[in-house]
């Protein structure tokens, strides 16, 4: 078997909520949080969820890769928006993967992503493994201080792998360090000291040792130990017990991103690969009702993918707006006003008809004139012959665009006011009036280069549905 990692992608939302802001608002109630009030955590915008974040990581991962080569796509998360509608299937549409692809949602444990990745690696198939979490936490809780949002994507397969899969080891033990019952919003967590001693040290520690023994790799041969335990000192202790160098332990990213749940092992792995050199051994360990441990060896192809991915690694933006954060999590009942009462009912029929238009941002190119347009229509915009059906599928999602007109609307309802939108012209033709996302004041004007992102367009709160579509965000340095 010559399977391994072909590519990876990582998406970390831009806004970084300062933990001191959380503490300042809540210190009257929970002064004990002061010890955690350092650093920042990545927070997604109101229009992001596990699916949209996974799509973004998936796009980075698939940059330059033939999408028709994908055999299956999985999405691992404990915060999947739909209980019955394939979440991976939505991502598949947004990523414009072939209709013949297999898809599966992986959930139920913080280990869901690594288990999914391990299965794909063991199958040797060309699989896109997506992982994302956007967990809610109670106000003034430890989780609120710790939890961050992010997504990661790993493409497995054979050929020019950037990291060869040496092997893995897994076990399953129903150890309840924390849980979230179906339908409830928040985790219920047991005492940290118990989890540290009985969970991380006993279960994860023994799994790491068993994995190294099974693979006949001495601990000191591991160059990078990616131990996804968001507790200070624990990864180092586990590494030492397994004979690994403490210096090999990967940064937990807790200071800058936070604990990103299911995504976290893959996020740490991606960030480790960014720094790794060819020919190095990387151990990945994750925990959640048991443990998964995998070992990889990087190859000479790593550099190419690293260079490609580095353009997507953007600087974060300091955010101190705690009440906005709460509102975007549904934890603050802000008066939205009557304009927010618009019924957002989504007819299933029209979504079925326009699936590619809406989820894939597929427009059309006229076979007669070569003119491209969005959306596709029966008669082309500049039709000459008046023949219908001349438009062929033309994807816009990965094309850059320029702002032709723009406004910052303070009248229309937006959960993140003002509502920015305007007309954009795509490079290579085609245009649309688009909502703009992730805009800070002064960041966009006529002529600004934009890129498209898959986001939530609106929530139908009455019927429990969310509508997805594409929005434009300013191209930050490096991306173009």
């Amino acid at each position: 078997m010559n399977s391994g990692i072909l590519s990876y992608g990582l998406y970390i939302p831009r806004r970084r909520l300062q933990r001191s802001s959380i503490y300042e608002a809540n210190s009257w109630y929970a002064p004990g949080l002061g010890g955690l009030a350092k650093g920042e955590k990545a927070i997604s915008n109101w229009d992001e969820d596990a699916v949209t974040m996974a799509v973004e990581a998936g796009r980075y991962c698939m940059d330059g890769i033939d999408r028709d080569s994908i055999e299956s796509v999985s999405l691992a998360s404990t915060t999947l928006p739909f209980a019955d509608r394939s979440n991976a299937g939505i991502a598949k549409e947004a990523l414009n993967l072939s209709d013949n692809v297999m898809s599966s949602d992986r959930t139920g444990s913080l280990r869901a992503a690594t288990s999914s990745l391990m299965q794909s690696l063991q199958n040797g198939a060309t699989d896109l493994c997506l992982a994302a979490d956007r967990r809610k936490s109670k106000v003034a809780s430890t989780q609120e201080m710790n939890y961050g949002d992010a997504s990661a994507a790993f493409l497995t397969g054979s050929g020019n792998v950037i990291a060869r899969y040496i092997g893995g080891y897994s076990n399953t033990i129903d150890f309840v360090d924390h849980y979230r019952e179906t339908g409830s919003d928040f985790d219920y967590a047991w005492e940290a000291r118990f989890v540290r001693d009985e969970g991380y040290q006993k279960i994860l520690g023994s799994t790491i040792k068993s994995a190294l023994a099974k693979l006949e790799i001495p601990g000191n041969a591991i160059d990078h130990a990616v131990i996804a335990v968001p507790v200070k000192g624990v990864p180092q202790k586990l590494a030492a017990v397994a004979g690994m160098a403490v210096e090999a332990v990967a940064d937990s990213q807790m200071a800058t991103i936070g604990d990103t749940g299911v995504c976290h092992p893959l996020l740490m792995l991606a960030m480790t690969l960014q720094k790794a050199k060819p020919g190095q051994k990387v151990l990945l360990a994750s925990f959640g009702q048991g443990a998964d441990v995998m070992v990889f060896e990087t190859t000479e192809h790593l550099e190419t993918i690293n260079q490609r991915q580095s353009k997507f690694m953007l600087p974060g933006l300091k955010d101190t707006n705690y009440s906005r954060y709460l509102f975007h999590r549904g934890l603050l009942d802000i008066d939205k006003g009557m304009r927010a009462e618009l019924d957002e009912k989504q007819p299933g029929t029209s979504l079925a008809r326009d699936r590619k238009t809406v989820l894939g941002l597929i427009g059309g190119k006229c076979s007669e004139t070569g003119v491209v347009q969005f959306p596709k229509t029966d008669l082309a915009v500049n039709t000459v012959s008046r023949a219908s059906g001349t438009l062929e599928d033309y994807p816009f999602a990965d094309r850059l665009a320029k702002v032709l007109s723009i406004t910052a609307d303070r009248l229309a309802y937006s959960p993140d006011p003002p509502s920015y939108y305007g007309m954009i012209d795509f490079e290579g033709g085609g245009r649309m009036v688009a909502e703009f996302a992730d805009i800070e004041e002064g960041e966009a004007d006529v002529g600004k280069q934009m890129r498209m992102v898959f986001r939530i367009k609106a929530f139908d709160e009455l019927r429990g549905f969310r509508k997805y579509f594409w929005k434009a965000i300013p191209v930050q340095r490096g991306e173009s």
Partner: protein, 401 residues
């Protein structure tokens, strides 16, 4: 080649309700108020009406569907009432229906009614609403000011106009309309404002501040039209005739091809060109006496002056600042206060504009009457958004010129 509508149809009478926040009445009451004035002005019996049209923009809120609400409210004599909706051109569409019916000979006398009851919404601005299942999935659910504010961004960028200069010109538009509205007893907003108040108002949709946006009002306006011959037989002497009525709907060219630059209204330019030809106007800046244009936002009025070929492209903002469109300027615009201050009950607005032009042509405009006898008077509507819209240009004037 169509011969056009010029001088084929005369306005027999017109009426207009007081616009504003009419907490006291509903769409029915507003229609009755406008209709009673019009029928008295026309000097006919209701039984002489052969057909009627009803223009409503937001029917779900204002009247409900169909033409029946007008038939019931006005107790029309068992005639066909056709409801029309074409965004903010709905009132003009109503008139066009009635005018075409008379011109075709299908009706001797027809009624065009426009009404809107917006202030049952519960908030300022226009009601948010669906635009069909496909649009709702891929379109932007913005606001009218947000849609039109984009004009300012593209216009300013194209012509290299400093933001503060453009903002000042936009403010001038609104200051002027408030000055005009103050003289109009039927206007929604009758307060004077100065330029600083306009410039420093809260932002609604960048760069449009509160005073760059028109009033959202309740109101109704109507016209009774007939042939010039019938008008004369009824004893009318100063006959106001329809000179041109043109409506152009976007076909997606602006929204979908990459040829439109976002800085002007394509449909208005086409409608104006056709209307001038229909009316026999060759020099709009020299020949138009008055304009009532769709000043839903100050930037719209300013750019419309260019789209109507009164100002040169990129120069409209200078003409505004030079007072060309003030009440005492060469080509007054919104001498009645416009959408800005007379108010903007969607379905009534097109007819309200014609109403003001009609009053001015007959010398009945009171305190705001132009001294020089007007000749060609233009009204213009713009519905939807700059990137996809309906535009209408109508011209009326004394019969025979």
């Amino acid at each position: 080649m169509a011969s056009g509508i010029k001088d084929k149809v005369a306005i027999l009478g017109m009426g207009c309700a007081r616009f504003g926040e009419r907490w006291d009445t509903d769409a029915d009451g507003l229609m009755v108020e406008a209709f009673e004035e019009a029928i008295a002005d026309a000097g006919i019996e209701v039984s002489q009406l052969d057909a009627a049209w009803l223009g409503v923009g937001f029917d779900a809120q204002s009247t409900g569907p169909s033409g029946i609400p007008a038939a019931v409210a006005l107790r029309l004599p068992d005639i066909g009432v056709t409801k029309v909706e074409n965004y903010c051109a709905s009132g003009t569409e109503s008139l066009r229906g009635a005018v075409y019916a008379v011109a075709s000979g299908a009706a001797d006398i027809a009624l065009a009614m426009g009404v809107e009851k917006l202030k049952d919404t519960g908030y300022g601005g226009l009601p948010t609403r669906t635009r069909g299942s496909r649009w709702d999935m891929i379109g932007v659910t913005g606001s009218a000011p947000g849609n039109f504010a984009q004009l300012a961004s593209a216009y300013g960028a194209k012509h290299g106009i400093d933001r503060s200069d453009l903002k000042r010109a936009m403010a001038h538009v609104s200051v002027k309309s408030h000055a005009n509205g103050a003289k109009n007893p039927k206007a929604h907003l009758r307060n004077l404002i100065d330029i600083d108040k306009a410039l420093n108002a809260p932002m609604i949709a960048e760069p449009l501040g509160l005073f760059d946006c028109c009033g959202v009002s309740d109101g109704a306006a109507c016209a009774i039209v007939t042939t010039p011959e019938i008008a004369k037989s009824l004893g009318k002497t100063d006959i106001v005739a329809i000179k041109a009525m043109q409506v152009v709907s976007s076909n997606g060219w602006e929204m979908q091809s990459n040829q439109w630059d976002g800085s002007y209204l394509h449909t208005t330019r086409v409608a104006a060109t056709k209307a001038y030809k229909e009316a026999g106007i060759t020099d709009p800046r020299g020949q138009l006496s008055l304009t009532e244009v769709h000043d839903c936002f100050s930037i719209t009025e300013l750019i419309t002056m260019e789209d109507l070929f009164i100002s040169k492209e990129g120069q409209g903002w200078k003409d505004v600042l030079n007072g060309l469109f003030d009440a005492d300027g060469k080509v007054p615009c919104q001498i009645d206060g416009g959408l800005k201050c007379f108010g903007h009950p969607i379905g009534a607005s097109g007819l309200r504009m014609v109403y003001e032009n009609y009053l001015q042509l007959l010398g009945r405009a009171g305190e705001r009457q132009r001294k020089d006898p007007p000749t060609f008077c233009l009204s213009h509507n713009l519905g939807g958004m700059p990137s996809q819209n309906v535009s209408s240009v109508s011209i009326i004037g004394p019969l025979g010129i």
